[in-house]
Symmetry: C2
Subunit: 136 residues, 2 copies
DNA sequence: TCATCGATCTGGACTTTGTCTAATTTCCGG
DNA sequence: CCGGAAATTAGACAAAGTCCAGATCGATGA
């Protein structure tokens, strides 16, 4: 599977998102890299060649992608949100010095002993973040 | 154990923090409530009677408490950091609709199968956040 | 008591991230 | 082509947090 802009259009349609030029570029930025990007980083990538997409559209589009389940939010840095094209169950390793964020496959990770949820509540997600730093 | 201001002064000294009026008030706000508070909330509590403590001091003091290990940061809401007077190992339950944050005792929670850390890295902490919302 | 001086506190300017809105542009069916 | 809905835009705005130069505090010792 190649992350062409045509494939991005199909991906968007399959998530019930009308594929526009800007949405395709933003999806392409995220999916072709398979990295965790902030809104600012997406903005910079999308506007490298020439300015094409406004700040408002970048924020609106990322929120739309999130609602439609195309991407996931990662809240780990107190100053900005990261958007994650990987929506399969996984956890995160965060290097606090550098801000580098990487995935931890969830298939071998087991979490047990969590208490029952409060009545009438349903789990939206379980985020596990391993914060690491250089030894010394 | 009563959370008097005198006890706050001792607590601060035991963490190598010079106990000033402002620091005692801020510590008292956190420890007497045993709640997760944002900087803004601390500011409001400390200045209820009459304005005593500036924004800069609230932020500086919370950062100092964090460095000295007196409180812990909880990063769960994309728009603000929460400060936690409970520094024992525990996890968090976050109600995404209301913003309500509560503790999950870690003694019965087991996490297994995490991969080895990258070489030269040491764990600073493992944050487990259960995000919940109203069913329906 | 009083002067001194390092530590602390302060107002307010500034930055960054994100939101909002009214106006414009694009897209598409008829 | 035309009309309307959907999408995009610039830029004003808001909230959280940082920074700094100057004011203040409070322990010390003359
Ligand atoms: Mn282009
Ligand atoms: Mn008071
Ligand atoms: Zn990820
Ligand atoms: Zn807690």
């Amino acid at each position: 599977m190649h992350y062409t802009r045509d494939n991005m259009a199909s991906l968007l349609r399959s998530h019930d998102i009308n594929p526009t030029h800007q949405r395709i570029e933003i999806a392409h930025a995220l999916f072709s890299r398979q990295e965790h990007l902030s809104a600012d980083q997406v903005m910079a990538i999308v506007n490298t060649r020439h300015s094409e997409t406004s700040k408002a559209t970048v924020y609106n589009t990322l929120k739309l992608f999130l609602e439609k389940g195309l991407v996931r939010e990662v809240i780990v840095d107190p100053s900005k949100v990261f958007y994650d094209p990987n929506t399969s169950a996984h956890h995160h390793l965060y290097e606090v010095d550098t801000g580098k964020l990487s995935d931890i496959d969830a298939t071998h990770v087991h979490i047990s002993g969590l208490p029952d949820l409060p009545a009438g509540m349903v789990t939206e997600g379980i985020d596990l973040i391993v914060r690491v730093r250089r030894a010394g």
